[in-house]
Symmetry: C2
Subunit: 340 residues, 2 copies
DNA sequence: TTGAAAGCGCTAACAG
DNA sequence: CTGTTAGCGCTTTCAA
């Protein structure tokens, strides 16, 4: 309980408090003699430097605020895990905020009080205005998997969502699908908008349009409802493929199609998702999906953050390339009556 | 950027610094007049109290350190999300540490430097010695979903793992299974040991023993290998049921049984898991599982933590009751005809 | 290389 | 209710 201070150590080691500070400061100049004395005294007393006091004077907390909105979609836990480890490697720590869109304002105020050195915002539902306010406060912000709607002066790291959608549209058209449906995520997110736009353009290259469309809001249950609304129609009206805005929803869709509606995948309908989460490769789903390279995204995020914390004020938008992974949930339509 | 201080606000509002402090301290006595003046000045300057400086003097950071080992098992992200929200509700924040067992020592040192008010350890692979060191440092610790191996002077919150295993053993025996296998998690964890002991005792009530056993280490791939080793034998040697130490592995096992080994679930083999994660109820799995009530666990954890932070030093072990949820992955054996 | 002294921004007595 | 005064534990000039 005792809360041993650097002064206690100094006294025991018979040196000044500064000497103690220096031995615990990586690049400081201390003679080996004093360093040894200090280290021994510190060990003896069980001394641990107080990071809070250090922060107060150095004005660097080595804390990064991370804001996320929901961890149910497996993509985000993985990101959080990797991000945390990546930042730990550089001596930073993660102050975590889970929030739905309603509380963001209050949350942000709190996060700022902790003098975070930087922030990562992976919350899809967070208003861009907030990112701005952080920048105003002089705190580097990196938007993860989303871009700033209002202005372009916040750094961001995203997968090329447009390209991902495009690849899906091209692929589905090329493989003979003629009634391609889309199940959207949250309508007001950049990810959803770009994925859909990509799909549309990809299909357009073959003169097709999106056949039908429903909204799943990146939510499991909403996605099921969307699947029902799209597929509970007579066979001729039924899509022969569906691109779902993320894997989390795509899995809900697959379950609904197979179990509730008795459809076979891919024979009756091809399903393609986005993210390539672990579960997409699970045996029961084998979901074709657009890959988001979480490692690369994390690396870019950490890199941007470090640069900005070093003073570089370059607000860059990193857009990572992507690719389509094909699995058993999608297959070419039998070419008999289609051009091929 | 400017870092507005309470002194700046005080000057603008023409009051003392203490007045500013008091208006930002919930239960302090300030007249409405000064409060208004201060609030206006604060707003004008964009002032935010510095939580770090406050921590230094109040010696309460309102930060809780949360240590987890891996978020791949969906149970943990959900816990993290709920825990974070629960603590936020009481004005606490989560400093997150993801760690594998090797780095725990270093990690712990860092966490302590941040003067956390308390800690939650949900890392299954963390040595109990570390929890002890925190207690020594006077920091309340609650072990989540694990118990202290060495000593009993650390609080913990667990599901009744023994009871869970017992229920499964009784159920499988009662429903006519005669060759019940077990796939273990990490052998040295309390969760695994108690679940297995429960299973054994539950089967013993009907004069049965565990038929075969393999180790999955709570790992997806290891679980697949375990399933292969247990089931790639001739039919007469094959288990007619398998209890898997958690759902994360159980899903891997189901995929392996069905796809690699061509077995039908539950006709050829019943599968039961533990945790009742979201995915257990997914249509493709319909996994029978022992429920861990995450909400109750979180509530108990937060409760213990708050009590201990208020000075109560009662090291209690909360053990929550559990129940078995039956889904389509398990079914009674029909005594005569269904022996493939 | 070392120590003395001066704060970082805030809160907590203590008078008034 | 309000202001004054002293620090919280640390780092950092600045001399020595």
């Amino acid at each position: 309980m005792a809360s041993v201070t650097s002064l206690d150590v100094a006294r025991l080691a018979q040196v000044s408090q500064s000497a103690v500070s220096r031995t615990f400061t990586p690049g400081a100049s201390v003679s080996d003699a004093t360093r040894v004395k200090v280290e021994e005294a510190a060990r003896k007393l069980g001394y641990r430097p107080n990071a809070i006091a250090r922060t107060l004077i150095t004005r660097r907390s080595r804390i990064i605020g991370v804001v996320m909105s929901y961890l149910e979609n497996q993509f985000y836990p993985v990101v959080l895990e990797k991000l945390s480890q990546r930042l730990q490697r550089d001596g930073y720590h993660v102050l975590l905020f889970i929030t739905d869109s309603r509380q963001t304002d209050a949350v942000l105020a709190e996060i700022l009080q902790y003098q975070v050195d930087g922030m990562v915002m992976a919350s899809t539902s967070m208003s861009s205005a907030l990112a701005l306010r952080c920048e105003e406060a002089g705190i580097p912000v990196v938007l993860f998997n989303r871009v700033s709607a209002g202005s372009e002066n916040t750094s961001s790291v995203t997968t090329d969502n447009y390209q991902g959608g495009l690849l899906v549209g091209q692929y589905l058209a090329r493989t003979g699908h003629r009634r391609v449906a889309y199940i959207a995520g949250l309508e007001d997110t950049s990810t959803n908008q770009q994925r859909e736009r990509g799909l549309r353009d990809g299909l357009a290259e073959s003169g097709q349009k999106v056949f039908t469309r429903a909204v799943g809001n990146y939510d499991f249950e909403d996605a099921k409802a969307a699947a029902r609304s799209l597929f509970a129609v007579k066979a001729a009206q039924r899509p022969d493929a569906v691109f779902v805005a993320n894997d989390h929803m795509a899995i809900a869709v697959m379950d609904t199609l197979r179990i509730e509606l008795g459809l076979r995948i891919p024979q009756d309908v091809s399903v393609v998702g986005f993210d390539d989460v672990k579960q997409a490769s699970w045996g029961s789903y084998q979901l074709s999906s657009v890959v988001q390279d979480a490692d690369a995204m994390i690396e870019a995020t950490a890199g941007l953050l470090m640069e900005e914390m070093d003073g570089a004020n370059q607000n860059r938008a990193v857009v990572l390339p992507t690719r389509l992974v094909l699995r058993a949930s999608s297959a070419p339509r039998t070419p008999t009556k289609d051009r091929k």
